[in-house]
Symmetry: C2
Subunit: 432 residues, 2 copies
């Protein structure tokens, strides 16, 4: 039977929609990046836009062998329902791989680390809760938090990450009043969960290693200062570390979570060191909140694919990453250096600024005064190159001159051509 065979009465015209959306649906928006990707995936466009890992780094052969072995030896379990916490040996591997003492019982396997952000939002954010993020910050985190209707505030940040003094000022907990946040937090515990703007933030979301979008990293002193300040004022930290293994010359300092495990949730991912198409990540959470994150996980998708978890555990055996990840680091370092060299050559004479990351996938560009990266994009695409305008990455007070360049999708050979095209677009737009 077709819909128009449905009996309709004058009181229910066929065009009336019965659906009422939840208020939070207003906060949901299509990802600027994913929409852009559709635009820029046209043949002939060199894309510095998406954060797609180079498929040259995907361990296809190791995956083939692991799939075969898992299905042959353990197919009936690999294809069955499984525990929401994740596959035991994979949780143990994660715990052992981290540079602080982690009990595998605190590890939750997630469907990509994006799901970790969704679970954090569900368990920690009420409508109206304050949530703090870096300036700028990862767009996908803003998207994951938004449906739980927080008040998201950017924290002043510089090339070394979160500005800790500014953070304390923002919290009303400057040097002269170190206890005020904690006191305020205690005072608000019995209030309506729809917090007033002055209530204690539920957490600060921070990406200390080769941040998306800027590529910047936090040094050890800054990390220690942030963790100390957060502990002093009772501010939980949500630390996201998808890129930490992608260092060029030396590994980054210890994670924030290693400095205070009880005050931090840590998110990790297999997307950048194995492959994103497996959708596997993990979180490490303090024992006090792990059960609620687990229950949220169970309600969200029961468990992450048991097959994928076993295949990854199989691939990881025998120190595979010790051989594999250095090849990714070397490739991305070459690509980053090629992009930087091209920037130096092609942007000569233009007042364009950029940083030189020590790892990761991105660098951050600032256009000459008066220019707007969003307006530049169509012109750049005309010239055959794409990027992501920076404004998408700000919780508030976006800097319209900024843009993000990914150096992992395009090849070394494409860097010169792509950056030259970008420079031409900037020159044209600048003089227009």
């Amino acid at each position: 039977m077709k819909p128009n065979d449905l009996p309709s009465s004058p009181s229910t015209p066929a065009t009336a929609s019965p659906w009422t959306l939840a208020r939070r649906a207003e906060r949901m928006n299509p990802s600027v990046i994913r929409e852009l990707l559709k635009l820029t995936e046209r043949p002939g466009i060199i894309s510095f836009a998406g954060g797609l890992p180079s498929p040259d780094t995907f361990p296809i052969e190791a995956m083939r062998e692991a799939c075969d072995r898992v299905l042959l030896e353990d197919g009936r379990s690999a294809l069955q329902y499984a525990a929401s916490e994740g596959y035991g040996p994979l949780r143990e591997w994660v715990a052992a791989s981290l540079p602080w003492a982690v009990d595998p019982a605190q590890v939750l396997i997630t469907t990509g680390s994006q799901q970790g952000l969704d679970l954090v939002a569900k368990v920690l954010i009420d409508s109206g809760s304050r949530v703090l993020v870096e300036t700028p910050t990862y767009l996908g985190a803003l998207q994951a938090f938004a449906p739980m209707e927080p008040q998201i505030e950017g924290v002043a940040s510089d090339t070394g990450g979160v500005d800790v003094d500014a953070l304390l000022q923002q919290l009303g907990a400057g040097d002269d009043q170190p206890e005020s946040m904690e006191r305020r937090r205690l005072l608000t515990l019995d209030l309506d969960p729809v917090s007033s703007p002055a209530a204690a933030p539920r957490f600060l979301y921070v990406l200390p290693n080769f941040q998306n979008p800027t590529g910047r990293s936090m040094g050890l002193a800054r990390r220690q200062a942030l963790v100390d300040a957060a502990a002093r004022v009772g501010l939980p930290l949500v630390e996201d570390n998808p890129y930490g293994d992608l260092w060029f010359d030396q590994p980054p300092p210890a994670p924030l979570t290693a400095l205070n495990p009880e005050g931090c949730i840590y998110l990790g991912s297999f997307s950048k060191i194995l492959a994103p198409g497996l959708r596997l990540g993990f979180m490490v959470a303090p024992a006090g909140i792990y059960p609620k994150l687990l229950q949220a996980k169970q309600a969200a998708d029961l468990h992450s694919p048991s097959f994928n978890q076993r295949v990854v555990a199989e691939v990881l055996k025998d120190g595979f990453l010790d051989r594999h990840v250095p090849t990714i680091r070397a490739l991305y370092k070459r690509q980053c250096q090629a992009m930087l060299a091209a920037l130096r050559t092609e942007m000569a004479g233009l007042d364009v600024q950029w940083n030189e990351p020590d790892g990761g996938m991105f660098l951050w560009v600032r256009l000459p005064e008066g220019m707007n990266a969003t307006e530049l994009l169509p012109k750049a695409v005309e010239h055959g190159v794409a990027f992501v305008p920076g404004s998408a990455f700000y919780a508030d007070h976006a800097d319209p001159r900024t843009l993000r360049l990914s150096f992992v999708t395009a090849t070394v050979e494409q860097m010169g051509v792509g950056i030259a095209a970008l420079a031409r677009a900037i020159r044209e737009q600048h003089t227009a």
Copy 2:
């Protein structure tokens, strides 16, 4: 650095927890079934508790071939990030497989159909919204809806599913006042989303085929009556159909969604016809709300694993299910018949009632007057058999005499032994 090296001041004792949970976290609870499974997975226990498909039905060889082919021929795409909507050929397969005209653009691939429930909850439920469910209903749906803080109400149901007259009465829209619901809905549009109890429900969640937990199905007349009534009063339907393909002798009538696609969201799953460990399901939604469901999906986990989607699309090619699913049907029919035969033999003389499903994975048992299935369970486990007490499946007014038996996990050979053990436990408890 170890956590106890963290500088601590008198104002922040090491025991103070900085974490504040969202109000919705109070609504999250561990799944009774998943906790039970841990208890009942002891060796020697015959489990009628979990809804684990028989691993004998998992297409391990077809999976091995498909994994190999996908990785060899398409590994770089299969392991890369992908569109949130899902893999094109899989969406096309889903659209073509459904018995009404479905545009592939309306198909969203989900990380198991459980994720479909999570997305529905996020997009349609405000705090305080009324949501209607069958009596009893799928426990996982109650868990998925609860975090969005609805008022969940059970709708009177009988062996043929939702009682449509009772539904209309509950909505204040009996035969004499067919327009009142629609009018009330319009009147409440501008009100605070924390709805009053009399506001229009956001949807009715219904599982028409071989329902979990009862195994009951809705006949065509009942389906038509429900769809007509829902359309008349402007009540959206969320139709869940994980078991529809598992019929014994004849396929069930058309889905509710086929009778009114614009008024229904349809959820499907590959868990019962291929394997649950892949965590792949799908939803079909009207064009008016699809974009919001897609945005919620994107924020939740970016996309379902591209590798799994391609492997499943590869397995499904060339009519694989036409050969494979009949073997599942035949197996489950044999197992169901063995359980029913054992029930007739072993429950003789006891006032125990049960239904005889036409497909699916479950049947529903009612104990003699005065008995309580939750209290019976430890006794049953002592005797070496497990089930799920029915009370977990009710939104309200649970019937403590009910319990769910799964006939798909235990073998035909185990049915007699397991049901005999259950009968002994009932006799002991009954006379205790």
